[in-house]
Amino acid sequence: MLKIDLTGKRAFVAGVADDGGFGFAIAKAMAEAGATICLGTWPPAMGIFQNLLERGKIEESLKLEGGGKLEFERIYPLDAAYDTLADAPAEIRENKRYKERGDFSIQGTADALVKDFGPTPIDILVHSLANGPEVKKPLIETSRAGLPHRGERQRVQHGFHGADLCTAHEARGIVPRR
């Protein structure tokens, strides 16, 4: 029988902060295929997400088909709006939801992965981040700063080994629930 087998692969899924998005579903499917899962989570949503996990509030969603539970090897704080920590403005770096998280930039996340797992830490990179700063506006009303694909292409380097390209076009974090 033809089988999807990701045994021995490590997937980094960027853009998971609850059990409701595509990122979570992808992480789960890849885990069911045997992959090890690391996440990149938007710092402001990280505490809430860890709470959900620790308090068992999403136990049902974490159940894997065929038994077992979805486990995350590591959860990294990641705000893909910033290539390096120096790119983040002071008010972000000093914000209480960011301050204790260490280096949440793309480079910081890549470095952390290398530190944790060696020079070729991941095999699969999933970009499932959402929303640009002016996502509500039609294109004709969007400013340069809100044009996700012009000046703001982001690259993930080093840590992601060969998989060194990540278009974070729309990746400006997860916006709180309405």
Partner: protein, 154 residues
Amino acid sequence: MSSAKAALEADTRTLAYEAGRRHGVRINAISAGPWASRAASAIGFIDMMIEYCKTNSPLPRELDAKEVGATAAFLASPLAGAITGYGGVRGQRLSLDGDGGGRRRRKQGSGSEKHRNSLPRRRGTRGSTRTNVVISVVGLSTSGHTPSQHHFPR
């Protein structure tokens, strides 16, 4: 921002070429259709988009996140070892254009050929044991016949 999704599709094809030649990495995107995630609620009219797609897409039914997960797992697996530059899974989304692979083939021999061949080719890509896949997920509308907020005046 359907234009952002259109750019993503173009980038998927370009990155597939560049990252494939340089690193032997495959790049694919999943263009699944609108999904009422927490992030998507930020746009303010996601429910209407879902309803619109349910009514008008090729498979007029609710999308299941599990289907997206399965697609990603497949694309990341060795089974999809020859698939790169692929722009989407089109059950729910409404774009009627062709996929990246087909377009790429048709473009061969065009003016872009020279540039393509000028990129260094990575040795030993075939039979590589690492997976090295990048998947970008597009949740909301994409290019083509997709609803934007112009369809949904608030």
